[in-house]
């Protein structure tokens, strides 16, 4: 290696593995000595191909692994939409062809051809779908399933089609079938082998899977050969014949207008072949344990590589190879010696896992099986001859034990005396029993020891922190349950049971209390504490119960039964200040206000001598009102058409808006109109913590919607909905829940989202932490809100409709009720005497509180 001069690494392919390589190069300091040029053929930066099918629901942006399209480190340059066509190993150059659109001068340079030097070349070209030589495979309506462009084409074709066929019943084929079902096509899967997923499953497991899949409306044809794709130019159907029959034997035609090939993948090793690098007999660039080819300057990683002759069609081995090459370039000792080919997935909603020696090929291996045809569960363990070690297994219908079983295989941990216990229903394996070296997250190679280190040494207090710190659970997510168990058991072993009970008076969580109140229809604290708690409550449980009661009924929060439960601010429908005075915040929906109303606010502030400030929430706050003045001040405001802004409640605050398409030259939708509509819809909704919203009229995001609990950003086609953002102590960016929605769908998703949060979040948990702590995270929220997986959608919407219909302004109602007004007095025996301890000075022409003299502790007042 030439020292002193910076070296240049050229990476061919910006897929999942090429991206991981660039990330690792930055993180591990390789860019201190090397420049990295990444050339990618696809029009967009790397995206999560593993999650490709969720493109239908989420769109491209959500799948991106590099949302800005650029690395933070300027020494890594990414060139997209460009293909490496040739490698010159003698000159150490690559030739790159870019489309005309990427060229500087269209007339003189129709398609740019450039040549780049390299010191190190990394091939990360991935794999391509294998399309078997079936007659008619070039007809319109034939597709593969690998890129976002493939999915766009399938989606467009499905709009004109009624039925579709997937050729290939493996893992990817079933994934594609799932997509066709979601696109509304009557769907067939054709598989040559006698069962589905022949590589991972045995016959019994395959049969169990067929039953599940057929229940979802997919017709499965196993043991079938494809003869010909019929149709003139466009596909009309597929002619098939039973496997094992002679050519010319009777055939059958399955009608379809869409055919998706999913018959396996082939490494993209053509560039290597053309420059005479050796490839493995079954394809893939042949590399050693450092992923180096016979040419020491050239490496290959990911699906295009064949370390030791084997190609791996999964992302985790590819990630491991990327790390190994970075390590090698840093003169580290890393090596790639094979990978765990275990898989766990949810196919069409069915759990399927296969790991280790699933087919019991080890000498003397024994099989233990458990099958329940009624519920569609099949589990098999493969154990060593002496019954001491777990070698592998298959799980269909219930893969909950996967997290415990798979590490047992890789660690060689001795099995318990009755190994069948591990697969019998309701088995609860103890992950603490795993050895420290056991790999918990295979995608990111994180062991149990790494996780325990994160909690005990690195200060991680919860699963979210562990995920961030170790990367465990951040790729396919299948290990999250195990990670969670480990974290909880660790704290339990320290005697630190994370008690989720509300306080000393209630062992129940807020969610449990919410359900208890709903089921029993309680309306009074007394009934609740008598039946489910102890003592007389406190400042933790009483406001929480007040909030639950307010969410479930639309009665005024100062009714006698609940007035005493309210927290400081709710108690007087205003925010208490440091000197015992209060602030007044009228609602100004979306921040839009008429001059007349502005004048009223000014007049009220002037007449009562209140300090006036524009808040961070696009409205106006009036400070320094004494408690007994609140009704008179609010009467003036209510008469002028104002209502409570709920600045005091754990409830909706503001829905911030930008000016949007009505005035702004860039706006594509009426963001002010929507912000006002949403603020009026959700005003007064009592929630576990405060709620804020925002609506921006275009992607410039002037309303900072992604900093809110729910944020809406206008698109040409409608609205993108983001959830789980906040500012405050621990800022969080909201993440995309669903895209390009029409207003009606947007509102129904928001109704569901907010009610689901109100029902299930913990006390004082904002939406971001609630989502983090929900099992399944944002994906779970999406399943419930968008896919309606729990069938709760209508119920949640009805609850919100009840809230919206039952809304009344709290201040207007208070002013109309003498009983409620009685509490707004300074002293019961001197109602009009101002509190003598309150005093003000003047600063910048407005009042300011004088700090009350602190009374010596213990002395009589």
């Amino acid at each position: 290696m030439v020292t002193g001069k910076r070296q240049r690494i050229v990476v061919v392919g910006h897929g999942m593995v090429g991206h991981r390589f660039a990330q690792a190069a930055v993180e591990r300091g390789l860019t201190e000595t090397h420049d990295v040029l990444v050339i990618g053929e696809e029009p967009r930066a790397a995206y999560d191909r593993v999650g490709l099918t969720s493109w239908f629901g989420l769109g491209s942006e959500a799948l991106s692994l590099l949302p800005g399209g650029e690395y933070d480190d300027p020494r890594v340059r990414l060139v997209l939409d460009s293909v490496v066509t040739e490698i010159d190993r003698v000159q150490k150059t690559v030739t790159v062809v870019s489309p005309p659109s990427a060229a500087v001068d269209l007339l003189t340079n129709p398609g740019a051809v450039t040549v780049h030097d390299y010191d190190v070349l990394v091939l990360a070209t991935g794999a391509a779908p294998f399309v078997p030589p079936v007659e008619g495979r070039g007809k319109d309506g034939c597709f593969v399933y690998r890129t976002i462009e493939d999915l766009e084409a399938i989606k467009a074709a499905s709009e004109r089609a009624t039925s579709g066929i997937v050729i290939g019943g493996g893992l990817l084929g079933l994934e594609a079938a799932n997509a066709l079902v979601q696109l509304g096509l009557s769907t067939h899967v054709v598989e040559m082998a006698p069962r589905l997923m022949p590589v991972q499953l045995d016959d019994a497991a395959g049969t169990t899977l067929v039953r599940h899949v057929e229940k979802l409306g997919v017709k499965v044809h196993t043991g079938v050969l494809t003869e010909e794709i019929e149709g003139d130019d466009a596909v009309t159907g597929l002619r098939v014949r039973q496997a094992g029959t002679e050519e010319g034997a009777p055939t059958e035609v399955v009608e379809a207008q869409v055919v998706v090939f999913s018959a396996g993948i082939r490494p993209r090793d053509a560039l290597a072949r053309e420059c005479d690098l050796e490839v493995a007999p079954r394809g893939g660039v042949l590399v050693d344990e450092q992923c180096r080819t016979a040419d020491p300057a050239i490496f290959a990683i990911g699906e295009c590589a064949a370390p030791g002759g084997t190609m791996y069609g999964l992302v985790a081995p590819g990630y491991a190879m990327a790390e190994v090459v970075v390590d090698a370039l840093l003169d580290g000792p890393g090596s790639f010696t094979g990978a765990d080919m275990s898989t766990k997935l949810k196919l069409l909603g069915v759990d399927v896992a296969s790991f280790g020696d699933a087919f019991a090929t080890t000498e003397g291996a024994l099989e233990l099986t458990y099958a329940d045809a009624v519920s569609g569960v099949y589990k098999k363990l493969v154990v060593s001859e002496d019954g001491r070690r777990l070698l592998g297994g298959i799980l269909v219908g219930d893969a909950s034990a996967y997290g415990i079983l798979r590490p047992m295989v890789s660690s060689g941990l001795a099995l318990p005396d009755n190994p069948e216990q591990l697969i019998l229903p309701a088995s609860s394996g103890a992950p603490m029993g795993m050895p420290d070296e056991a790999q918990v997250c295979s995608c990111n190679d994180v062991t149990k020891a790494d996780i325990l280190h994160a909690v005990s040494e690195q200060g991680c207090e919860d699963v979210a922190a562990v995920k961030q710190c170790t990367r465990a659970g951040t790729t396919c997510g299948s290990c999250v349950a195990t990670v969670k168990n480990l974290v909880e058991e660790h704290f339990a072993s320290q005697g630190l049971v994370v008690d989720k009970g509300l306080c000393e008076h209630f062992r129940l969580t807020r969610q449990e209390l919410f359900d208890v109140v709903a089921v029993h229809g309680y309306r009074r604290f007394d009934d609740i504490v008598e039946a489910h708690g102890t003592g007389r409550g406190c400042d933790l449980c009483k406001p929480a119960i007040a909030s639950i009661l307010a969410s479930q009924t639309s009665t005024h929060i100062l009714e006698p039964a609940t007035a005493g439960l309210q927290d400081t601010n709710d108690k007087y429908l205003a925010n208490i200040q440091r000197n015992g005075t209060y602030s007044v915040v009228p609602r100004i929906p979306g921040g839009e206000i008429t001059p007349e109303k502005l004048i009223v606010i000014g007049e009220v502030a002037r007449d009562y001598g209140l300090y006036t400030k524009i808040t961070g929430g696009q409205r106006i706050d009036l400070f320094g009102a004494r408690m007994e003045q609140l009704p008179a001040i609010w009467k003036r405001l209510v008469d002028a058409g104002f209502e409570s802004g709920h600045a005091y409640g754990k409830s909706l605050r503001t829905v911030k808006s930008c000016v949007g398409s009505t005035w702004c030259r860039f706006g594509v939708q009426d963001s002010v109109g929507l912000a006002i509509a949403l603020e009026l819809r959700y005003r007064g909704l009592r929630s576990p913590h405060k709620l804020k919203g925002g609506v921006s009229g275009c992607a410039r995001e002037c309303a900072e919607a992604r900093g809110k609990d729910f944020g809406v950003i206008a698109t040409e086609k409608g609205w993108n909905l983001y959830v789980g953002g906040n500012g405050g102590a621990t800022p969080a960016h909201a993440r995309l829940l669903a895209g390009d929605l029409d207003t009606e769908t947007l509102v129904s998703y928001l109704d569901r989202f907010l009610m689901y949060y109100v029902r299930t979040a913990d006390r004082l948990q904002r939406t971001s932490t609630w989502i983090e702590q929900l099992e399944g995270g944002l994906d779970r929220v999406r399943e419930v809100v968008v896919d309606d997986a729990l069938g709760l959608g209508a119920e949640l919407e009805a609850e919100m409709a009840r809230h919206v219909g039952g809304y009344a302004d709290e201040w207007a109602e208070t002013l109309a009720d003498p009983a409620k007004l009685e509490r707004f007095v300074s002293f019961v025996n001197a109602p009009d005497t101002p509190d003598p301890t309150i005093a003000f000075t003047t600063e910048r022409d407005q009042i300011q509180p004088v700090a009350p003299a602190l009374i010596p502790v213990g002395a009589p007042a």
Partner: protein, 115 residues
């Protein structure tokens, strides 16, 4: 026990909400009067010693263990309604007053001796 002759009638007992409080002026000083769930009446200085604001009557009344308490609306420290002792800071105590109910009227008496 202080003499009852200095006691001041402040309001009817119904004026004090169950598990709630009101503020009263007694000799120019703000006193918080509370009623617990079982109807017992207590009186403490209304001044919250942690913020200096006159607000204790607006706190939440409940219990901690067997102790009837009010928690300050400002920073939430709990005070024993019987003695004024702060349960969250041994060094802090607010004045407790003698209080009684006669013919449905709440009478606030003298500050209690600190023991």
């Amino acid at each position: 026990m202080s003499a009852t002759m200095t006691s001041t009638a402040v309001c009817t007992v119904e004026t004090v909400p169950l598990e709630g409080g009101v503020a009263a002026l007694v000799d120019g000083v703000a006193v918080a009067v509370f009623r617990t769930h079982d109807g017992a009446v207590f009186a403490l200085s209304n001044l919250d010693p942690f913020s200096g604001a006159s607000v204790l009557s607006r706190g939440i009344v409940g219990s901690r263990g067997d102790v009837p308490v009010v928690s300050s609306p400002m920073y939430k420290q709990a005070f024993d309604l019987r003695t004024g002792a702060c349960l969250d800071d041994d060094a802090v105590r607010v004045t407790a007053y003698d209080v009684s109910v006669v013919d449905g009227v709440v009478l606030v008496g003298a500050p209690r001796e600190v023991t």
